[in-house]
Symmetry: C2
Subunit: 150 residues, 2 copies
């Protein structure tokens, strides 16, 4: 099956290959897709799973602190919290010391789905880490942190 004249197969990005941001976006897209497929049976997205796990580790955390940690807008955080609340995965409460704040805590259903998700996420991480030599992983993570920290 010969290649047609105006239907070449393109292998690279040419000039754009120098764009670090492009490679980050492509890597993220690939991981995001694999993550989404892995957790499709639980109907959990990457953001949702991350938030559940975060709330589990920091019971009573406020939305503002979730937003800071996940590097999201307040409104974006609201949207995700609302979706998880609608499925009875978490519950909002009142802060005792600052009446502007609300506390977020997992409900039994949320705890249950999180535990299931953790198993799949572990497999997903294996798939990802298997692409690297073990000794390279820490260095890769450190470079990624360089991008988003501070």
């Amino acid at each position: 099956m010969p290649q047609e004249k105006d239907t070449p197969v393109f292998h690279g990005f040419g000039e754009m290959d120098h764009l670090v941001g492009l490679h980050i976006a492509l890597a993220h897209g690939t991981v995001y897709r694999h993550f989404t497929e892995s957790l499709s049976h639980l109907e959990l997205t990457q953001k949702q799973a991350t938030m559940l796990w975060l709330v589990d580790e920091h019971a009573g955390i406020a939305q503002t602190d979730i937003a800071k940690l996940m590097r999201m807008d307040r409104a974006t955080t609201m949207a995700i919290v609302n979706r998880l609340q609608a499925r009875d995965f978490l519950v909002r409460g009142k802060s005792k010391t600052d009446r502007r704040r609300q506390t977020i805590d997992l409900l039994p259903e949320g705890k249950k789905v999180l535990e299931l998700a953790k198993l799949v996420i572990a497999e997903h991480e294996e798939w990802l880490k298997d692409k690297f030599k073990t000794r390279d992983i820490d260095r890769f993570v450190s470079m990624l942190k360089t991008v988003y920290e501070k």
Copy 2:
């Protein structure tokens, strides 16, 4: 201003810190946000700018090949092409050798906005690369390619 008992400042992800996928997502989010702000005056997203640049480098490319390069679904690609077409940035044509295929080419308006975008993208890339030691950048890119290639 003392920290309240139920409003601690959280610095890390604890157990989740081992998740490579999480760090990729956070790094991408940071770069995505900076890119979007940088190009807001042109009203171009990261995907849209990437596609314009790609079409510029590969005149007459088919949607399928754009999709493969950008690691996107066919329908997703359609949506982005449609938006750029609606703004007269590109035009669809007919392939001479395969009547199922369409060719995509830049229009003058698209070429103009791309050239403006390239200037801003160069600044954006400087912002990103300044976070690294020069000699680390190639290694970082190579690791990112490891994630999404093949």
